[in-house]
């Protein structure tokens, strides 16, 4: 038997921590754009990405805006890829809690055209995480091809004249609306077929399923966050509610949206900005 001195002392196991490759790529883009992120923000983002992937919600994503870092450069970055970097009109305020539009002709162009970015007009999902509870009549995000032709409108209003309104290329056939008592929370609208459109708040369906048939392809316009873009240069009905997350994806099911909310709320809680 060969005696090895100090063999009872275990060699340290290598424990070099590395972020998820997509999370790390996002951090690199933020830094390259001139932004910075705290360790807490990086860890929260990494957990978010892992959560989306483990719940099979990462692949359907077209764009995700985390609104972290407290600057325009950091908030403009799309989590999912190098595409669809946002550009902000004048009027926004940026903080560690999110990005706040003024409510008057203030918006972020995503550079994402739903008509070309989505392969199926009957599969789309959009969200806005509002940190503000108020009764300001405004639209959180959306677009439509022409100001005079709302058939293809995509629009999410957390509050407009007393109700929430969700349009997903079905406005002229009958829209989805429900009463909202508090505009703080995560609002999601999802279409999973030509006759199934649903609205959600904080992962739970609100109102009835809208079974009115969609009326057209998705809009051929620049999708905006903070207002409704009719076409480049004409924006109306902006919101003044602070945004702490926004996304565009293929249509998501009830279960996927519940899981999305769980993951996003954990992200917000880590950043101490949950509502």
């Amino acid at each position: 038997m060969i005696f090895t001195p100090f063999s009872f002392i275990r060699r340290p196991v290598s424990s070099v921590f590395s972020y998820d490759v997509d999370a790390q790529a996002f951090f690199d883009r933020v830094i390259a754009a001139g932004g910075t992120l705290t360790t807490t923000e990086k860890n929260a983002t990494n957990s978010l990405v892992l959560g989306l992937k483990s719940n099979s919600i990462w692949s359907p994503m077209k764009a995700i805006y985390l609104m972290i870092g407290g600057t325009s450069n950091s908030c403009a970055q799309n989590l999912t890829s190098t595409s669809y970097v946002g550009t902000f009109s004048s009027g926004w305020s940026f903080a560690s809690t999110g990005a706040t539009p003024s409510g008057t002709n203030c918006f972020m162009y995503t550079q994402l055209n739903p008509n070309s970015a989505f392969s199926d007009a009957n599969s789309s999902c959009f969200s806005y995480y509002s940190r503000t509870n108020n009764t300001f009549s405004g639209t959180e995000c959306g677009c439509q091809t022409n100001i005079s032709s709302p058939t293809d409108r995509v629009a999410l209003s957390a509050y407009y004249g007393g109700s929430s309104y969700f349009d997903q290329n079905n406005f002229t056939n009958g829209r989805l609306s429900f009463t909202t008592s508090n505009t703080a929370g995560m609002f999601v609208m999802s279409r999973t077929s030509s006759k199934i459109q649903k609205g959600y708040k904080n992962g739970t369906q609100q109102g009835s399923t809208n079974t009115n048939t969609q009326t057209s392809p998705l809009p051929n316009a620049n999708y905006t966050v903070g207002s409704l873009n009719f076409n480049d240069g004409v924006n109306w009905n902006g919101t003044n509610r602070e945004c702490a997350f926004a996304h565009l994806s293929d249509g998501l099911t009830d279960t996927q949206i519940a899981n999305l909310y769980t993951v996003v709320q954990a992200f917000q809680t880590t950043l101490s900005r949950q509502v």
Binding site: T87, S89, S90, W92, N105, P150, N235, N237
Partner: protein, 72 residues
Amino acid sequence: MIGYILTETEKNSINGKFYSTVQFFYCSQNVNGIWFILLSEDDKKIIINTNYKWILDCPKSEFIPPPPPPMF
């Protein structure tokens, strides 16, 4: 909301121009057709260090938007 009043020439000189990597001016007409630029405090902190700092010397006034189209 308080905004800065612009002449037509001033509006044309800034509308759509970028004052940071990802931020651009977006001018608006009020209910009477007068051009305004509406800036946040964050915007002003950037603009004061650019060639656009003259905007901050323009006259200020309450911005009253025109009525929105009948969409809702």
